[in-house]
C-alpha cells in the first residue's frame, strides 16, 4: 500500500505521486520512510532523496533544506529548491563546485560553503542516477530514526 508523496517548492510542484519508500541521505544521517510511518515533522538540510515505487525506476531528487511532514499515508516535502536528478545540468554543477572551492580557498564564507554543499549534493545525485542506484531497505539500528511499521 503506497503513500502519497509531494515535493513542493515556492515555484512549482516538483513531484506529486505515489511511492513505496523514500530515503533521505543527508549530512545528518539517513532516514527511511515506509508506508504507515508514525507522524513525524522534521527539518531537512541539503539532502538527497531517493524515491522508490514498485514497477518504476526510482527517482533521485535533490532537496535544499526545508521541511518534511510525514503521515502514515502521505509525505510532504516543503523546500526552497528541489530538482529531479534528470533535470540537473552536470556541467553547471561541476562549474559551481569549482567556483565555490576557489571562493573558499580565498575566504571561507558560509555562503561559499553552502554553494559547495549544494553543488556536491547535485553531483552525488547524478552519480546515483548514473549507477542505477538501488536503495537499501533501512532497518532499525542502522541509524537515523527507527522505522515504525504499522500492522499490515
Amino acid at each position: 500500500m503506497p503513500f502519497t508523496l509531494e515535493i513542493i517548492t515556492p515555484d512549482r510542484v516538483v513531484m506529486r505521486g505515489e511511492a513505496d519508500f523514500v530515503q533521505i541521505r543527508g549530512k545528518d544521517g539517513e532516514l527511511g520512510i515506509l508506508p504507515g510511518h508514525t507522524p513525524l515533522f522534521t527539518a531537512l538540510s541539503d539532502d538527497l532523496m531517493i524515491v522508490r515505487q514498485q514497477g518504476q525506476q526510482e527517482e533521485v531528487v535533490t532537496v535544499m533544506g526545508g521541511f518534511m511532514d510525514v503521515r502514515p499515508d502521505r509525505v510532504t516535502v516543503l523546500t526552497p529548491a528541489a530538482e529531479l536528478a534528470a533535470e540537473i545540468d552536470e556541467v553547471r554543477a561541476r562549474q559551481a563546485a569549482e567556483r565555490a572551492k576557489v571562493q573558499i580557498d580565498r575566504a571561507r564564507t558560509a555562503e561559499a560553503e553552502g554553494a559547495l554543499e549544494r553543488a556536491l549534493v547535485r553531483l552525488r545525485a547524478l552519480e546515483l542516477l548514473g549507477r542505477g542506484y538501488r536503495p537499501t531497505r533501512p532497518h532499525p539500528g542502522q541509524g537515523g530514526i527507527p522505522i515504525e511499521m504499522r500492522e499490515k
Binding site: 517548492t9 515556492p10 515533522f41 527539518a43 510532504t76 530514526i145
Partner: protein, 293 residues
C-alpha cells in the same frame, strides 16, 4: 505655407514613432503580467501547505506562552523597520508614487506613536526617492528580476530578521502593492515581525501526536523564517504583477493619447494643405486673369 505643413508632418511622424513604442511596451507588459499571475498561482501550493504544517506544529506546542525571540522581541527598541517594495524601472503610471506615498504616510503614523522608523527599500525608484528624503534608509535591494525569484525573498527576510535579532528594531512591517486584478492594485501593509502563531487557540490540542526532529520549539525557529520568506516572496510577486498591470495601463493610455494627437494634427495638416492649394489656385487664376486683362 509649405514650411508649416512640413513642421506638422514632422510632428505627426514623431507621435507615430512614440505610439509604436508605447504600443509595444503595452503588449510586452500584458504578456508579462499574465506570466506573473501564473507565478502567483504556482506559489500557492507551497504557502498553503506551509500554513497547514505551521498550524500543526504550533498545535503541538505546549499551551501557554512560547518564548521565541521571533515571537517576542528580544529588546524593546521602540523602532520599526518598514520594508517598502517599489520597482527598478518607471513608465508604470502612479505605481511607485502610490507605494512611496503610502510609505511616507505610514512612517509618519509610526512616528506619531512615538516610535522610530527605518526603511528597507526594494527597487531603484524607491531608493532614489528615500535617499533624497529625510528618512533613515538602513538597507536597500535593487535588481530584483521580473518575475522575482524566491532567493530575493530569502535575502530580504534574512537581512530584516538580522536587524531584528540584533535588537536594532523590535517590529518589522511590510508595505507592498497587492494585486487584485488588472485594474485594481493597492498599497497594502503586513506585519512580519514579531511573528504571530497561527491558530493560537488550538495550542496544546494537537489532533495528531507528532514526532519532532528537532523539538517543536526549535523547529519554530526555522518555520517562522520559512513562513516569512513565503509571505515576502508572494508580496514580491504581487508587487511585480501590479507594476506590470500599471505599466500596461499607462502605456495603453499613452498609445491612446498619441492616437488622438495624430488625428488632431492630421486634421490641421489637411486644412493647411487645402489652404495652400486654394492659395495656389487663386494665384494661378489671378495671374491668368491679369494676362487676359
Amino acid at each position: 505655407m509649405p514650411g508649416n505643413t512640413k513642421e506638422i508632418r514632422r510632428r505627426i511622424k514623431s507621435f507615430q514613432s512614440t505610439q509604436k513604442i508605447t504600443k509595444a511596451m503595452e503588449m510586452v507588459a500584458a504578456a508579462k503580467v499574465r506570466r506573473a499571475q501564473e507565478r502567483v498561482q504556482a506559489s500557492r501550493p507551497y504557502s498553503d501547505k506551509l500554513r497547514e504544517v505551521f498550524a500543526e506544529v504550533s498545535a503541538n506546542l505546549p499551551a501557554g506562552e512560547v518564548r521565541h525571540p521571533l515571537l517576542v522581541p528580544p529588546v524593546a527598541a521602540r523602532h520599526t523597520l518598514l520594508l517598502v517594495i517599489t520597482s527598478d524601472k518607471g513608465l508604470c503610471g502612479g505605481y511607485n508614487a502610490n507605494i512611496i506615498r503610502a510609505a511616507v504616510n505610514r512612517s509618519q503614523e509610526i512616528k506619531a506613536e512615538g516610535r522610530d522608523v527605518s526603511l528597507f527599500v526594494v527597487g531603484n525608484k524607491g531608493i532614489a526617492f528615500f535617499r533624497r528624503s529625510a528618512f533613515a534608509v538602513v538597507q536597500t535591494l535593487s535588481g530584483v528580476p521580473t518575475p522575482p525569484g524566491f532567493p530575493q525573498a530569502e535575502v530580504i527576510v534574512d537581512e530584516a530578521t538580522d536587524l531584528y535579532l540584533r535588537g536594532e528594531v523590535d517590529r518589522v512591517e511590510l508595505l507592498y502593492t497587492r494585486f487584485q486584478s488588472l485594474a485594481r492594485y493597492e498599497p497594502t501593509a503586513m506585519d512580519l515581525l514579531p511573528a504571530t502563531l497561527p491558530d493560537g487557540e488550538l495550542r496544546g490540542q494537537a489532533r495528531t501526536p507528532y514526532l519532532f526532529e528537532p523539538p517543536a520549539e526549535e523547529l519554530m525557529g526555522e518555520l517562522i523564517p520559512a513562513y516569512l520568506k513565503t509571505a515576502v516572496y508572494q508580496a514580491l510577486l504581487d508587487a511585480s504583477a501590479s507594476q506590470l498591470a500599471a505599466q500596461m495601463m499607462a502605456m495603453g493610455a499613452a498609445s491612446k493619447n498619441a492616437g488622438e494627437m495624430i488625428a488632431q494634427l492630421t486634421l490641421v495638416y489637411n486644412k493647411a494643405r487645402q489652404a495652400s492649394i486654394t492659395q495656389e489656385i487663386l494665384e494661378v487664376v489671378g495671374g491668368a486673369e491679369a494676362l487676359q486683362g
